[in-house]
């Protein structure tokens, strides 16, 4: 970390004046240096050709540092993954901070370092950015927005319209790890072996699936906010398909499961990162699964459900003991229950 003559971010650092320039010139942003970003104009100059995906997300997470990561890599991975879910090869990201005054510069630095490594791992560049500062009590340490663009893979045919009866629904890994890693900090849970957020970039995994299976990948989506249940119910509703799920097939870390029991939370509604759902042709489902098992990001992948002609718009889950229940969307925030 470069030596600075300030320890915390203050309003002045967002005022656009000397302090803003001082922050910009302090060297902290050198971490992200590349030819495009270094131009430092009002925007970045890119070359793009043809079908392109464009996505945005704002990230707010408390705590900003959590087991397995921090808000910086979350923000990079979030947009990288949204682009990947479109079948795109994420290339250029914007990075915009809203910092609450008083944030230690050290924490800001750590976030930038995480951004840098997440970008490296994903193979993307931050090409334009923005830093704003809000008064104490008008923010929550730091909010990060990333937006991104990238060319769509020529073999990608990702669209909910391609979903067909018989399609298998593959989940790429354990559910609820990210949400519970964060909840564990908030609720003061201690884990025997740490539960980690599995935030990571999925673009390499996804693109090699598309490369290999092309139009047999019908839909990709990352079940972040609202969890697996909500995102599947959304798809069932908007695409007017029926979905059957099997509780016993859901991969889940035992500690994560225990934490959910303790707090009375349903893991199907807990937020995920570094996880995706793929709707794939029945015929290729096993091959996709086998390919995923070779990948670090897919080693726990499982088929959790099937697209069915019956009960359109409904998601029905068979419980571990064989009973059936209907899956609806998360009605509001999941709050820890006592009863």
């Amino acid at each position: 970390m470069p030596k600075l003559d300030f320890d915390v971010i203050t309003l002045g650092h967002g005022s656009g004046g000397v302090l803003t320039n001082k922050l910009l010139d302090s060297g902290v942003f050198d971490l992200l240096s590349n030819d495009i970003l270094d131009e430092r104009h009002d925007g970045a100059f890119l070359e793009l050709h043809g079908k392109t995906a464009f996505s945005t997300d704002s990230f707010l997470v408390s705590p900003i540092f959590f087991p397995g990561g921090n808000i910086g890599e979350l923000a990079v991975n979030g947009t990288v993954n949204d682009l990947a879910m479109c079948g795109a090869n994420p290339k250029y990201l914007s990075l915009s901070f809203i910092i609450e005054e008083g944030l230690p510069v050290k924490e800001f630095w750590d976030i930038l370092v995480a951004v840098k490594f997440a970008c490296q791992k994903a193979g993307v560049q931050i090409v334009t950015g923005d830093t704003k500062v809000v008064e104490k009590g008008k923010g929550d340490k730091i909010f990060v927005n990333t937006s991104g663009v990238g060319p769509i893979h020529p073999k990608a045919k990702i669209s909910a319209k391609n979903i067909a009866v018989g399609d298998k629904i593959i989940i790429s890994g354990n559910v609820a790890s990210h949400g519970m890693a964060i909840m564990s900090v908030r609720e003061g849970l201690e884990f025997d072996s740490e539960i980690q957020s599995d935030t990571t970039n999925l673009n390499h995994t996804i693109l090699s699936l598309i490369e290999q299976f092309g139009e047999n990948i019908h839909l990709l989506t990352d079940p972040t906010r609202g969890g697996v249940a909500t995102v599947l119910k959304e798809i069932a509703q908007s695409s007017e398909i029926g979905i059957d799920l099997f509780q016993k097939d859901f991969p889940m870390d035992e500690q994560v499961a225990s934490a959910c029991e303790l707090l009375g939370l349903d893991p199907l509604y807990v937020a995920n990162e570094g996880l995706f759902l793929a709707f794939v042709s029945e015929s290729e489902a096993d091959s996709v699964l086998a390919t995923l098992h070779e990948d670090e990001n897919g080693k726990n992948a499982r088929i959790i459900g099937t697209v069915v002609a019956e009960h359109p718009k409904q998601v029905i889950m068979e419980s571990a003991i064989g009973g059936k229940r209907v899956i609806s969307m998360l009605p509001g925030e999941q709050l820890p229950r006592i009863c």
Binding site: S184, E190, E254
Partner: protein, 91 residues
Amino acid sequence: MCLAIPGKIKSIEIQYGGMVRMAKVSFGGITKEASLEMLPDADVDDYVLVHVGVAISKVNEEEAQKTFKYLEEIGELGELEDVDEYLPKSE
């Protein structure tokens, strides 16, 4: 349901100058504090049922097996496999 789940006492600590006996209780790999004031004789390695941060019952190991044996007991299940199969596994 008065959400309450069973966990194993890992350690016991006296807090507030002897006023409160608190336990670290492990629930399938996660640990949370619980008061032992309602279970003065609970000890390390005991399984206790915890509700809103208070341990309210010690699990009775012997009784715990009855659910697995019940069908056999009422004599309606001749060919029931060995009950042990259902018993809590040792960790």
